[in-house]
């Protein structure tokens, strides 16, 4: 109880004083996770839309694979990216290991299947409604993909939020490929893990509360946007 109380006090003082070290960590977290969501969305959303509209051999296998990849443990994902980016790995010459870019790559790999799988589920319903009309207009599956993505944009916001939530909350992948380097690759979750290691549980919990507050703010803003816009689009 004492620890919880002191965590609350610490969290409050972090927010009110805008402790520069905390601010840096928070900004890096946002930058890494938002960039990862953006990149994963560029790949995952069109893929999900294509799976919703197109019939091709291997489609069912891909859907099952995507659904399974939604449960990919971040540590495994981090390890894969680590081996790819290591100096001894195929992409070693890029020198990306232990940089924020590596963390973006790992998180993008982690959440792209999530975005694709959720987008497919969502857009399949919309395609059921649209397909006859779009075919009447002469739009094949390829042309339907951008149409569904655009018309489903407000609903897809929820999908992006799910991806952002997963990205900003995971610690295993960014710890491995980022290295939790102070002032360079330390994000909210790895900072929490470090403070937990040091046995400073109240500080770790306070950082966790700040993280929760940020995720909550992002979600609330997106929800307001989605609700008001969805009401518009019907």
């Amino acid at each position: 109880m004492n620890d919880l109380g002191s965590a609350l006090t610490t969290a409050a003082s972090m927010v009110t004083t805008a402790d520069p070290a905390v601010v840096q960590v928070v900004l890096l977290s946002l930058r890494v996770s938002l960039t990862a969501v953006a990149i994963a969305a560029l790949v995952g959303l069109p893929l999900g839309a294509l799976l919703a509209v197109a019939q091709f051999p291997g489609r069912r296998v891909m859907i099952v694979a995507l659904n399974a990849l939604m449960g990919l443990p971040p540590v495994v994902c981090g390890l894969l990216v680590y081996l790819l980016l290591s100096r001894s790995g195929p992409l070693g010459p890029l020198g990306l290991l232990f940089t924020p870019t590596a963390m973006v790559i790992a998180q993008a790999v982690l959440i792209a299947p999530i975005l694709a799988a959720l987008a497919r589920q969502l857009l399949e319903g919309m395609w059921e409604e649209y397909s006859e009309q779009l075919r009447s207009f002469g739009a094949g599956p390829w042309r339907a993909v951008p149409t569904l993505l655009w018309d489903g944009r407000y609903a897809l916001l929820t999908v992006l939020l799910a991806g952002f939530g997963r990205a900003s909350a995971e610690v295993g992948a960014v710890m491995i490929v980022g290295g939790n380097i102070d002032g360079f690759t330390r994000v909210m979750t790895t900072a929490i893990a470090l403070e937990t290691s040091k046995g400073d549980l109240p500080l770790a919990l306070a950082l966790g509360m700040v993280l929760m507050a940020i995720v909550l703010t992002v979600n609330a803003a997106a929800q307001v946007l989605r609700d008001s816009s969805a009401r518009w689009a019907g």
């Binding site: 900004l27 946002l30 930058r31 938002l34 960039t35 953006a38 290591s86 100096r87 001894s88 790995g89 070693g92 010459p93 020198g95 290991l97 232990f98 924020p100 290295g179 939790n180 380097i181 102070d182 002032g183 360079f184 690759t185 470090l194 937990t196 290691s197 040091k198 046995g199 400073d200 549980l201 803003a221 997106a222 307001v224 946007l225 008001s228 816009s229």
Partner: protein, 278 residues
């Protein structure tokens, strides 16, 4: 209202993306141990070096075994670790070196205040471990190929006890860093071998305290070495060597001696001294 909100969100999003990549200063990557990072030594030491040299040091804190692997793969420029045997193998295998003494501290045997194995105050670590095994008192092991883990295993050998027989009962390998292992020991009221630096900086002690210390066998030597640029051309030789040279220079040694928690010195520079025999 909706328009404004949308614009604000977009601005925040783009702003977060466009945050200037952190300034591309001169930097080296050092693979080191959880004990040096979590004891707070690097937080104190590195700014002094950066100020003197203009070189930023990026520390990836791992167990010594993992840190050596990172060096083998060429993913770090400098290694700063504490497992003399493994380090020597690393050097003789041609992955890096030469190896330099930097500093030492010592391990301490931590245990619950109730001390069920009755070892508090002993100076003979081997005897203490034998009593823990005999009493089957819970003992938490790092179990992560770290320098501390290697030291612990050597101590068991010296005690003539094979702790693996206690696995699943009183001998508990957590496979984690020093801090998480201490958290686990605190939660289970178990004995544990820890480096003094991490112990002093550790906050979640609960019932734990030092039970055995001061044995020569508990000596903990840290070494530093450059990863071989012949193996990995990407290694930043000049800046990496500059860091090593500074650490073993009088300036670096003085800085190490200056790091204290609650007035207590954590690490003892010994770059110029021969290693005491354990």
């Amino acid at each position: 209202m909706l328009k404004t909100l949308r614009r604000t969100l977009l601005a925040v999003f783009l702003g977060a993306l466009a945050l200037p990549a952190l300034a591309q200063e001169r930097s080296i990557t050092v693979a080191s141990t959880t004990s040096t990072e979590q004891s707070g030594l690097f937080g104190y030491l590195l700014p002094i070096f950066t100020q003197a040299s203009g070189i930023t040091v990026r520390v990836v804190a791992l167990g010594t075994g993992q840190a050596l692997d990172v060096g083998r793969r060429g993913d770090a420029d400098v290694l700063f670790v504490h497992d003399r045997v493994a380090e020597t193998r690393f050097v003789t295998e041609g992955y890096g070196g030469p190896r330099h003494h930097v500093m030492f501290n010592d391990f301490v045997l931590i245990g619950p205040a109730a001390d069920p194995a009755h070892i508090a105050g002993l100076r003979d670590t081997a005897e203490a471990l034998r009593r823990i095994a005999a009493a089957a008192s819970p003992f938490v092991s790092r179990g992560d190929r770290s320098g501390t883990h290697a030291a612990e295993l050597r101590l068991w050998v010296q005690a003539g006890v094979d702790p693996v027989q206690g696995r699943g009962a009183w001998y508990r390998e957590v496979g984690q860093g020093m801090g998480p292992a201490l958290n686990a020991a605190a939660a289970q009221n178990a004995y544990i071998l820890a480096d003094r630096g991490t112990w002093l900086a550790f906050r979640n002690r609960q019932e734990l305290k030092i039970v055995v210390e001061g044995d020569a066998r508990l000596f903990n030597q840290y070494g530093v070495m450059l990863v071989s640029p012949q193996r990995h051309p990407s290694v930043k030789v000049v800046d990496g060597q500059r860091f090593i040279d500074w650490l073993i220079s009088p300036a670096g040694q003085t800085a190490i001696a200056g790091y204290k928690i609650n007035g207590e010195q954590l690490f003892f520079p010994n770059a110029t001294q021969p290693e005491p025999v354990s």
